[in-house]
């Protein structure tokens, strides 16, 4: 099944919309609530990244019976050093973003920790693309 959601950059009041929608969908499909939680947490973190850093973004979700694949593509400044950005605690978030309780520098690492496969591509000045994959079959 295919779903798409837009992410509006810079608007923290709407952050979490795509992950909340995904949660509703997954709860109707997947029995293992721990998997649901992991995927939703990962997408939420990705949404926060787009809202905080990019200019616009899109979430593309494909759910099959065995796995879920989520792409989060944004147009934005891109990440110059992905390895550094993946480190827990590393953050380039502005003071303003931190004051709102975001930007602790755990985002990308947290996404990776909550999924089975994680891919990231980024081009400075163009944008960043994440691919998150989680297996839905645990037995």
């Amino acid at each position: 099944m295919h779903f798409e959601f837009d992410i509006e950059a810079g608007d923290f009041s709407k952050v979490g919309y795509a992950s909340s929608q995904l949660k509703k969908i997954m709860k109707q499909l997947v029995g293992d609530h721990k998997i649901v939680k992991r995927v939703v947490v990962a997408l939420y973190e990705a949404e926060v990244n787009v809202v905080a850093h990019a200019y616009s973004g899109k979430v593309i979700i494909d759910i099959n019976t065995d796995k879920i694949e989520i792409k989060v593509n944004d147009k934005g400044p891109g990440i110059p050093d992905i390895q550094l950005a993946m480190q827990e605690g590393y953050s380039t978030a502005s003071e303003q973003v931190r004051e709102m309780g975001f930007g602790a520098g755990m985002g990308l690492a947290n996404i990776k920790n909550n999924t089975d496969e994680f891919y990231i591509k980024s081009e400075v000045g163009v944008g960043t693309s994440l691919t998150i994959i989680a297996n839905l079959i645990t037995e």
Binding site: K23, K27, L29, K37, V41, Y44
Partner: protein, 450 residues
């Protein structure tokens, strides 16, 4: 297809129900539909929060309590009171008067449930210190919240502190105390006076426990009316000396909002009102909210003071209990060793409850393949439905109707907009659409003279 697993205290009286759909629209778990002009309950979705009871204009929803005369089956009849009962009475009513009338009604003993806090408080702190993994910890105080988490937020069941609420501890203590006086256990009946429906459900089918230590439940509005009438008429036999043991200030306000949160360590939040609680749990589940140590969640606005069986204004109840707690604090009325602490070891041993299991009701099908098929159909159906959420189909909103259709509980022509489209296309005629509406809303509503 939904199996019955739960006792519910809330019952819809079909002969009283006028099929107005107020309850259907307020239900936080979308557990109610209207069929043949009457409200129907999906029992497994109901969390006994009592919101339907609150809005019913004709009192067709009742909270099933035990027959009062059941107390007389026991030689020792203990009334276990919530602090909010005392908070119902005006300031000039003395606790001794309340106790006196209760004894005249037939109780041999009267005890306040929140004495259990004296044991629970330490057990909760102890648990919080030992369990740092599943943050935030969630209090097990409100049975409606526990059920809400089981049904709607299954990923959070492990965050619930698996400890008995104060009333169970108080019941265990009182029973043990009487037993240690040589009284046979079968002679003891412990009756809880409940401010809400969910506590009845918790007694009748406890979560994480085989059997509740409480014998029966009596509705607080019933007791309040009996007691207040007795006091007003002054017709009680003699003034009983109230139990010399007063609640601690903490115990007095425990069931109010912040009652627990104020006593826990770290970053603690108190949230009341079932819709506020759901909104917050959504965020906790997404891990949007981090670094919170403890959550006190109560289904009713103003917590137990807003319970559906309170007869008096919730804000006045809160004010009275806070005043009472302050008085106890200032006068030291609660100072001194209380008897319940003599049983602390025994009670601490029995304070834990078993594992609280998720029982999510949201999956469209057991099989993932089937669930996806159904979801695709829901998506297709949603393209046809008007997104008005008018409820004329007998379901609370368009999404709920679409889900009912794929679960074969409803048909697409239950939607009044679809009926109009079908009529225009000649698929159905006006008589058929009239018949459909009659099946949902009942004869009477569709045959009024106008």
């Amino acid at each position: 297809m939904e199996q019955k697993v739960f006792h519910h205290a809330l019952k819809i009286q079909k002969d009283q129900c006028i099929g107005c759909s107020h309850c259907m629209n307020i239900c936080p778990t979308e557990a109610i539909r209207v069929k043949n002009g009457k409200a129907e309950l999906f029992e497994n979705r109901c969390i006994d929060c009592g919101e339907c009871f609150r809005v019913c204009p004709v009192n067709a929803i009742i909270i099933e309590q035990d027959d009062f005369n059941k107390i007389f089956q026991y030689k020792y009849r203990v009334a276990l009171l919530p602090a909010v009962l005392i908070g119902q009475f005006p300031d000039d009513v003395k606790t001794s008067e309340i106790y006196s009338v209760l004894k005249d009604l037939g109780f041999t003993d009267v005890y306040e449930a929140e004495h259990g806090v004296d044991v629970l408080q330490d057990a909760m702190k102890d648990y919080a210190e030992r369990n740092t993994e599943n943050k935030p910890l969630i209090s097990s105080f409100c049975p409606a919240v526990i059920r809400l988490i089981q049904v709607k937020f299954p990923a959070l069941v492990d965050n619930i502190i698996p400890l008995h609420p104060p009333l169970d501890i108080a019941a265990l203590y009182y029973k043990q105390k009487l037993v240690s006086q040589g009284i046979d256990e079968s002679d003891i009946g412990i009756f809880y006076v409940t401010p809400c429906a969910s506590k009845i459900a918790a007694v009748k089918s406890p979560v994480g426990e085989e059997k509740s230590p409480i014998t029966g439940v009596i509705n607080m509005d019933f007791i309040f009316n009996k007691v207040y009438t007795g006091i007003k008429r002054g017709d009680y036999s003699k003034v009983i000396d109230t139990n010399k043991e007063k609640l601690t200030p903490e115990g007095t306000v425990w069931s109010l909002t912040n009652g627990e949160a104020d006593n826990m360590q770290g970053r603690c939040l108190a949230i009341d009102g079932v819709h506020n609680v759901m909104d917050f749990l959504e965020r906790v589940e997404n891990e949007e909210i981090k670094d919170v140590d403890f959550l006190e969640l109560r289904a009713c606005d103003e917590s137990c003071a807003g319970g559906v069986l309170n007869t008096q204004n919730r804000f006045l109840t809160v004010e009275r209990l806070k005043k009472r707690a302050k008085y106890f604090k200032e006068t030291g009325a609660n100072v001194g060793q209380k008897d319940i602490t003599n049983y602390k070891e025994y009670l601490t041993e029995s304070v834990s409850i078993g594992k609280i299991k998720p029982r999510s009701m949201m999956k469209l099908d057991k099989s993932m393949v089937e669930a996806m098929k159904k979801m695709r159909r829901v998506k297709e159906i949603m393209k046809c439905l008007p997104d008005v959420d008018c409820g004329a189909c007998g379901a609370p909103n368009c999404q709920a109707l679409a889900e009912d259709i794929v679960q074969e509980r409803a048909a697409i022509n239950h939607c009044i907009f679809i009926q109009k489209i079908f009529e225009k296309k000649g698929i159905i005629d006006w008589e058929q659409s009239h018949e459909i509406m009659k099946n949902i809303w009942g004869d009477e509503k569709l045959n009024r003279k106008c």
